[in-house]
């Protein structure tokens, strides 16, 4: 019995040693990058794999990418970044989170790769500048997007209503719709507090105006400024009038809001170009279009807000910085692959993009949304800033969390804005920097 045990122990030891050797041999040759991204539907994940991961691996033998789209990625990354062994090599983040990660010393500067792959000449300057802190790049943008008003063209035409471009038209159409039992704007915030920023962005952009927003977040004006306060006042009035989901926006979630609009019960959907794949592939049974939200005040142009949907950060703990840099560079230097990925439901990267490069079989609804994205961002002087990419985090979290309290009269407008101002003052004192181009959106 003892002899047998000894033999087994010897075999086990040799096996483990051999396995270790083989593993060590592979590890020396191969580099594996852990790439953490937000959760997505299966077709999108497949597009990532087919038009980025596989071609990159084929072009770079010895580098493999472990692409991990995970639910609640944002919070998982916050925890994992602290760990030298658990941090992903490259990860998705909101642009507004990057300064906090940088201040905590958790990010790798990416200047070397920005230069090496000529990204300053490829990526939109406004988008790239989101990752620039004290002259160094700590993130590189991924996709870009814009807020839009998506409207049911058939429903408007059937009722003889115009596509609203002014405040007056907007009010007329919304009032008429309510009278006919049609929901003016489909929107739901239940279980989706993040959606609240879509509302005040539209009023800040189209009532307050691009410059007022810039002045607010650079500390030149306060929340009590007439342009800013007026924006929130008008939003509250419109909510009270039932324009926003007949005052039931707290009763439905984001998916329900989209379903409501897709079912033809609502005129407008107040989201953005990120719905490109959601509305594509036959999801809509009627004619629809997307354009900027109408002007909410005489003299203020109808405008959209741009955003980088997500940025890519690299952990300072990564053991393969050059491989990660190579991946970022590959992403931005293969326009043909980007065109394919966009045609298969992914949003375009933050760089000029020629729609004619799309494959001929690209879904017509996806193409329509891409055209809208280019149309609303065409005039750089008339593009505003989306909260999730540009606003200071704590102020924005407060505005989102307490917007319902304003709607439900739990907070007066003055209290809501004064509290927001206190938080903004603190963030400005702590060094918050509004990283948006002076000329508006895509300028510079």
């Amino acid at each position: 019995m003892k002899q047998r045990l000894k033999f087994l122990a010897a075999v086990a030891t040799v096996s483990i040693a051999l396995a270790g050797t083989v593993h060590a041999g592979n590890a020396a040759d191969n580099v594996n990058i852990r790439f953490v991204w937000g959760n997505m539907e299966a077709p999108q994940k497949q597009a990532w794999i087919d038009y980025l991961i596989k071609p990159f691996e084929a072009a770079n033998p010895g580098i493999t990418v472990d692409f991990q789209p995970i639910p609640d990625e944002d919070n998982a990354v916050k925890v994992q970044l602290n760990s030298p062994t658990g941090a992903p090599d490259i990860f998705m983040a909101d642009a507004t989170e990057i300064p906090t990660y940088e201040a905590a010393g958790l990010l790798l500067p990416l200047d070397k790769y920005v230069d090496e792959y000529n990204l300053k000449n490829i990526i939109y300057p406004w988008a790239l500048s989101l990752g620039n802190i004290d002259g160094h790049y700590y993130s590189v943008p991924h996709e870009y997007e814009a807020t839009v008003m998506i409207y049911n063209n058939d429903l408007l035409k059937a009722n003889g209503w115009p596509v609203p471009r002014t405040r007056e038209q907007f009010v007329q159409v919304c009032d008429a719709a309510l009278k006919k039992g049609i929901i003016p704007v489909s929107y739901g915030s239940s279980g989706f507090v993040l959606g609240q920023q879509w509302l005040y962005e539209k009023y800040l952009t189209n009532y307050g105006g691009v410059n007022a927003v810039r002045d607010l977040f650079t500390g030149k004006v306060k929340f009590t400024d007439p342009e800013i306060k007026g924006s929130f006042q008008m939003l509250k009035d419109d909510w009270d009038k039932g324009y926003w989901a007949e005052k039931k926006s707290s009763s439905i979630g984001m998916e329900q809001s989209r379903s409501l609009w897709l079912s033809g019960k609502a005129l407008f959907l107040a989201e953005g170009t990120w719905l490109q794949s959601t509305l594509g592939n036959g999801a809509t049974k009627f004619d629809w279009e997307a354009t900027s939200w109408p002007s909410m005040k005489d003299g203020k142009p109808s405008a959209s807000a741009i955003a980088v949907g997500a940025v890519m950060g690299v952990s300072k703990y990564t053991k393969h910085p050059d491989a990660v840099g190579k991946l970022i560079g590959f992403m931005y230097t293969h326009n043909d692959l980007m065109a394919e990925s966009v045609a298969h439901g992914l949003q375009p990267l933050s760089m000029p993009f020629d729609l004619s490069s799309l494959p001929p079989d690209t879904d017509k609804d996806s193409r329509k949304m891409l055209e809208a994205l280019q149309a609303v961002t065409k005039d750089p002087s008339n593009v505003s800033y989306a909260p999730w990419a540009f606003y200071p985090t704590k102020t924005n979290v407060y505005l989102m969390n307490k917007l319902d309290a304003l709607f439900y009269n739990q907070l007066s407008l003055d209290d809501y804005l004064n509290n927001a101002q206190k938080i903004l003052d603190q963030e400005l004192a702590d060094g918050f920097e509004f990283r948006a181009p002076a000329a508006g959106g895509t300028g510079s």
Binding site: D74, N75, K78, V79, L81, N82, T100, Y101, A103, A104, G105, L106, I183, S189, S190, G191, F192, V193, K247, K248, S249, S250, S251, I252, G253, Q256, S259, L260, S263, K265, T393, K394, V397, N401, K402, D404, A405, F407, Y408, Q410, L411
Partner: protein, 293 residues
């Protein structure tokens, strides 16, 4: 070495793995939570020690947390009554179901095995004022029911969310009560019947005293469970509308993760944890002294 001493060492050696496991998985995170509660940690990077500042902020400044705790108490008070009473009642009926008992038990237990995320989403569809159960009521001509705004009405929202949690929980309560009822000695009922006790008297003087330990355990679990509940609120309303469904755990989550205020979130967590410990020991004490109700 004496036999007793040797046996003590052996026993301790057997317990040590479990002790280390517990120490690293439970004690270390708990101790680190206490430490972080005394710092301004953002959740990333290095924390700075700020003493009891977070606790002072919690007590004197954070009205939202106070409101969330009140919501927790409301949540708990309904939890302590409806699912317990309903679970016990159904257990009393099911225990007499003979050969169908297993079927009923499985059916009633079913909600407990449905993921909270799934049931939360399903109930949100029912609650949808544009396409949910209200449409059915309207079709039936019951307009007084068709206009209820389940999660959009501040006065109803908390109970609408809690209802889903009750729906999920009561099957578990029923199964536990069923197990306890099976343990009651039948001869006690027979003796009570001989003494002329009616059904209610038999329930009050035989059943309740016999299942008292189970009842106390369930009450303890329920109270603690309602203080640490999170998933239904997070999936369905995220604390809205206007804080109507905000509970301590969702508020803590928002502070720690959305607001980069993990130090403060730790202080709030420690407080909730301490409250649960107090409740636990309170019920332990009640169990020890007998609780002659």
């Amino acid at each position: 070495m004496s036999l007793i001493r040797r046996s003590e060492i052996v026993n301790t050696a057997f317990v040590l793995p479990a002790f280390f496991l517990h120490f690293f998985i439970i004690a270390v995170p708990t101790l680190s939570l206490i430490y972080f509660s005394l710092t301004d940690w953002k959740g990333v990077g290095a924390p700075n020690f700020i003493g009891l500042e977070n606790f002072s902020r919690m007590i004197f400044e954070d009205g939202d947390f106070h409101h969330a705790v009140i919501n927790n108490i409301l949540y708990m008070s309904v939890f302590l009554t409806i699912p317990i009473v309903f679970g016990l009642l159904m257990a009393l009926l099911t225990v007499r179901a003979g050969r169908f008992q297993l079927l009923y038990r499985a059916l009633f237990f079913l909600p407990y095995v449905v993921s909270p995320v799934i049931s939360g989403k399903i109930f949100m569809m029912y609650y949808d004022p544009f396409s949910g159960i209200n449409q059915f009521f309207e079709w039936m001509g019951w307009s007084f029911l068709a206009n209820i705004n389940y999660v959009g009405d501040r006065n109803l929202a908390l109970f609408s969310v809690a209802f889903v949690d009750y729906w999920h929980w009561w099957g578990f309560v029923l199964v536990i009560f069923l197990a306890a009822l099976h343990q009651v000695d039948v001869s006690l009922y027979e003796a009570a019947e001989l003494d002329g006790a009616n059904r209610l008297q038999r329930f009050l003087h035989v059943t309740v005293p016999q299942i008292r330990p189970t009842l106390v355990t369930l009450l303890t679990i329920t109270i603690i469970g309602s203080f640490v509940t999170f998933d239904y609120v997070y999936v369905m309303t995220q604390g809205g509308p206007a804080g109507a469904t905000e509970i301590a755990s969702t508020w803590i989550f928002k502070q720690a993760f959305n607001n980069f205020d993990a130090g403060y979130g730790s202080a709030l967590s420690i407080t909730v944890c301490a409250a649960c410990v107090v409740v636990y020991f309170g019920f332990r004490r009640i169990q020890r002294i007998g609780w002659d109700i």
